[in-house]
Symmetry: C2
Subunit: 385 residues, 2 copies
Amino acid sequence: MTTGPPASDDAPRTPTAPPRRRPTMKDIAARAGVSPSAVSFALNDRDGVSPGTRARIREVAEELGWQPNSAARALSGERSDCVGLVLARPARTLGVESFFLQLVSGIQEALAARRVALLFQVVEDLDAECATYRRWWAERRVDGVLVVDPRTEDPRPALLASLALPTVVIGDTQLGPGTVAAPGAGATPGTTPPQQPTPTLSPAPLSTIWADDAAAMRSIIDHLHALGHRRIVHIAGLPGLAHTERRVAALRAEAARLGLDARDVRSVCTDYSDEQGAEATRRLLATPHPPTAIVYDNDVMAVAGAAVAAGRGVPVPGALSIVAWDDSPLCRVTHPRLTSLVRDTAGFGRLAAQELLSLLDGAPTRRLQAELPHLEHRESTTRAP
Amino acid sequence: MTTGPPASDDAPRTPTAPPRRRPTMKDIAARAGVSPSAVSFALNDRDGVSPGTRARIREVAEELGWQPNSAARALSGERSDCVGLVLARPARTLGVESFFLQLVSGIQEALAARRVALLFQVVEDLDAECATYRRWWAERRVDGVLVVDPRTEDPRPALLASLALPTVVIGDTQLGPGTVAAPGAGATPGTTPPQQPTPTLSPAPLSTIWADDAAAMRSIIDHLHALGHRRIVHIAGLPGLAHTERRVAALRAEAARLGLDARDVRSVCTDYSDEQGAEATRRLLATPHPPTAIVYDNDVMAVAGAAVAAGRGVPVPGALSIVAWDDSPLCRVTHPRLTSLVRDTAGFGRLAAQELLSLLDGAPTRRLQAELPHLEHRESTTRAP
DNA sequence: CCGTTCACCTAATGCGGTTTAGCAACCAAG
DNA sequence: CTTGGTTGCTAAACCGCATTAGGTGAACGG
């Protein structure tokens, strides 16, 4: 025995209790009368074991309730069966959005099926997020990571590539409509143009799950335009985020297409907090020609905005139509209930996690498009006054 | 073989890039001209190394950017530097409450300081939660766990005790005021042999962080009572949860103390969802003698209830006062803003995580009381009509 | 002056798996 | 009856770290 002190931390100390030592493959081997290697082969579906022996080993393993020691696996197998997710949001905006827990819930569904665990970390900012990746990499904690809130100038893909951590970006770092075939993903080596020195030569696979924000924005604007709205403001989220920029660009493009004035149809950026959503709404309603419709980039700001309107005596939807990007129970508890863009967030997470598992299996990188969201018409939108 | 191609997953494939193999202690040893054991001693602050050598080794480790391989540590050191948190909530009620992300955020603060990671899992129900603990135990994934949403009849403490997993229960399984010293910690009902020599010999340490729900409920009821309210309904959460039962009991006791009729002051259980919160409110307002004040067990139901009142033309707080248990931005975006019970949820999580770390260090189990919450008076409560 | 202690370091072992090399038995072919 | 190739298994090395048992030289005490 290597443990000098008689009782190590979680060894069974009570002699009365049944020995609760976790069974190892050696135990199985002894019980089945074979060598540990045979057990390893049998349980990992590798050949070199006869069907009969395999069955017997499986039986004993079952009987003993054996489960692989993840640390030992990680040490020799070079994989930890663990993926990471870092959420970098200032504490202030934490915990109000329904988005993340839904996303995580979907992610887990996909991971659980493969016995892969999720390492989760909440940090304050992007620097801390990068530090977390470095630490996870150095400690071999994770096999890959899921990246959320991609930005227009995002250091993370390059960092993760240099760390050789398989990655799935949830959302898209690209501004364009996303029809380009896997530009940053390092699709096939050899054809890399020399202009981009390192990023194309990515040592780590990186896939992207993208949502067609432009199409979604079009559907919202078309809906409002059809209702006669001509002054529409988009209260956006954090300006650095790629999807914010995409939505802003999409709004501008759509306004141009419809021949609407850029002063009447525009975006205002916020930090996603209820305070800034309310403040922006207050400012807009105080202008001489207030918008007749406001599109909010999340549910919390939409609810906050609706409250501001109510507080100022601006009837919704009579004088102001409201659309929330992202549905949640919040949008249904207000009065009137908010028209909102419904996305299958859990499904989004599931898709991302499945893609990461594929990458870990060696599948080629991809750009996957998430299901198109749809606009759920409720009472907060109506004809322009 | 897990990977078809000969190159292993994270071996440096690009000759141009610097060899990105993670440095090991052996590398440090070679570079510092000592044996690997000396490196281990030096980096773990064990004696047996001279100050000079120790400094040199530290320097080299720093220079190489060495970080311990968590798998190897876990394998030999018997600790994974990882703790687990399982959230068992039906998907429907997920992601609306602000509570969990705040809690997790606080937990991480405490864990990050000690380089302990958090394994996070969202599951559907209690059975799945228990299965997760078993799996984590079998796979040696975690050194300990944080348990949330304790119930009155809770199988988890016994399970975790039998698995010898150090545990901190966030909230309290007890119904009473909580002065009893950790009674349910080591009791394993089924396996207790008749001799039973030492009941204090608990197989796994279990600490509890408890919040004084009774005092909190008293402060709310006293506030409402002082405002003249005599018909007060408490729209509670899930009936199985210990804190729900505590609040219900506290309400009953307080009503008795104030000499209020149990038909006028009572609790109604829900599942925390906005739907049930709204439905309960609707039913209450339709009775011949509707309550003049409602206390909601979470923010989402409170907002939903306020919306129902608004929809039915019941002025808040004119005809109905509303109190939300747990503050969040939600309570500030409604109109009027909701009076709510403010707790330091992140602090709660921090405390729990610190306690778990203490347990892992071998500290004795404790019952810690969380900071008392306070009632934030806003516009949703006023004198009874 | 020699045995003992002590400080400092090295060698070796084990954690629980995976993986490669090797070995015995069996079968078909020569 | 030997040869060569499978088949089915075992032995052994290894992953990166912690730990324990040795082993060396210097200081020390008698």
